[in-house]
Point group: C2
Chain length 280, copies 2
């Protein structure tokens, strides 16, 4: 149980063991279904019997624990009756880039995102929007944090993830491979539907509080800003990232011919929508 | 301080007093700026002096409290050095509908949304996407819950909010006024960009766990489903609502002529994007 507490609460323990925790029967069932490497399962008396049968049928060690035991060790609100120890299988950032180029889909790059709920939500968004994977820069939250795993609703099991990516590597690999780097900004960008997003690219999402660092903004290929009405200064990072990732998916579906960038395309913002400066 | 604890932790107390709490200097500054009815401010020694000067200059009673006193009474992680008691000013659902019709913009209707973070995020989305307001049905979380207020980043101060709206009233008022009711669903809907969303309408967003109730689905005018790749079954409610609300804003900007509904418009989903059934 001490090990579970460490894997739940400490990023360093997850990294050194290359293991993380999945809590609850729904996530465990998904892990079994997608062939995740499950090292062991800890179950309280209330865990679903048929699920536990699947666990033992797969040859995964099953450890019964006392009622309420998981609540004491897991760093989660309302822990459920079963928890699995799963092997994390991160990929390198180079590999993510190769995947993006191969599939013609974007990557999401989370730059300094601290909130585990936002991080997990964006991993789920990446899967749903058909992204090639998610990169977490140094200084971002751990995608295998238990709250992030929950918010991902199992997408951490299926989406290629690169972690601890230095900002320099992000830029270097992007440039070397000719991948467009697209920054999500609050001002000085073009609306997503007027930005070419259909191909392989890296969609950079910064934290709501700090945005993207200058060193990244200085070298990006395009800047996207969601036109905002009212007095809203920024959107939640998960919302911004979702709007850009799903607009990219929409463009890949071919729903709309995107107007070419670089020409003097007029902004369509009108009425109470704040006009947005054009990208350079 | 007992009163602050009640206003922080209990919805019933907020309702009976028609007051709620705003925590932190940023939200308090926004409340002062937009002319909110502030009944009183409680400040620990660390609160910004210039802000407190503004408070007293506005004739708002200022009550100094001991260092750490707010932490003990507020139902919030990392409470800040200042909290304001603010009058809530809800509007009726009829009034929201009139606002939507007058402005030609949609309303968001949150149906059974329980998570305060999602609720607050959607209030902010509503402001940023130029919606006419947000309705919360009976059984939804309170938008004046302290966590929702925080997640709204101050939008609760500016967006017209109707609460405790019975589902029957939602339907009745919508029908009587000829407002389109648009359901956000996971299956059996059209992609947002192929759905007419440019005018006054009610955009219904259900909880991720339960979706929208059958009685509502039976009478909606249109169904929207975000095309999803991978094995994702649903999106976070705040993400779904944001995608639909911002697509409505995009259509109002006139960025794309929407294809007429009702004809046999082919779905453009292809490749790894799950095809979506057409709306009836």
């Amino acid at each position: 149980m001490k090990r579970l507490r460490r894997l739940s609460g400490r990023r360093s323990s997850r990294r050194s063991e290359a293991r993380y925790l999945l809590d609850g029967p729904v996530l465990l069932a998904e892990a079994l279904e997608c062939g995740a490497r499950i090292e062991g399962v800890y179950a309280e008396p209330g865990a679903p019997a048929d699920l536990l049968e699947d666990v033992t049928a797969r040859g995964v060690p099953l450890q019964p624990v006392a009622q309420g035991a998981l609540r004491k060790v897991l760093d989660l609100a309302a822990p459920q009756a079963v928890v699995a120890v799963v092997a994390m299988e991160p990929v390198g950032f180079e590999e993510l880039c190769a995947g993006a180029i191969g599939s013609g889909a974007p990557l999401l790059a989370l730059v300094g995102i601290q909130d585990p709920g936002n991080a997990g939500t964006l991993v789920r968004v990446a899967e749903a929007a058909g992204c090639a994977g998610v990169a977490f820069t140094e200084g971002s939250v751990d995608p295998w944090n238990p709250k992030a795993v929950r918010a991902s609703a199992g997408s951490v099991l299926r989406v290629p993830l690169a972690v601890d990516v230095p900002t320099g590597e992000l830029l270097g690999a992007t440039r070397d491979r000719g991948l467009d780097a697209v920054a999500t900004v609050t001002e000085g960008g073009r609306p997503p539907e007027l930005t070419e997003l259909a191909g392989a690219s890296v969609l950079l999402v910064g934290s709501e509080a700090h945005g993207l660092p200058e060193e990244l903004l200085a070298v990006v290929t395009r800047r996207v800003a969601i036109p905002m009405a009212g007095r809203v200064e920024s959107l939640n990072a998960a919302v911004s990232g979702a709007l850009v990732a799903f607009e990219a998916a929409r463009q890949r579906r071919g729903a709309e011919p995107v107007r070419p960038e670089g020409g003097s395309v007029g902004q369509n913002a009108r009425g109470d929508l704040r006009p947005t400066a054009e990208n350079t």
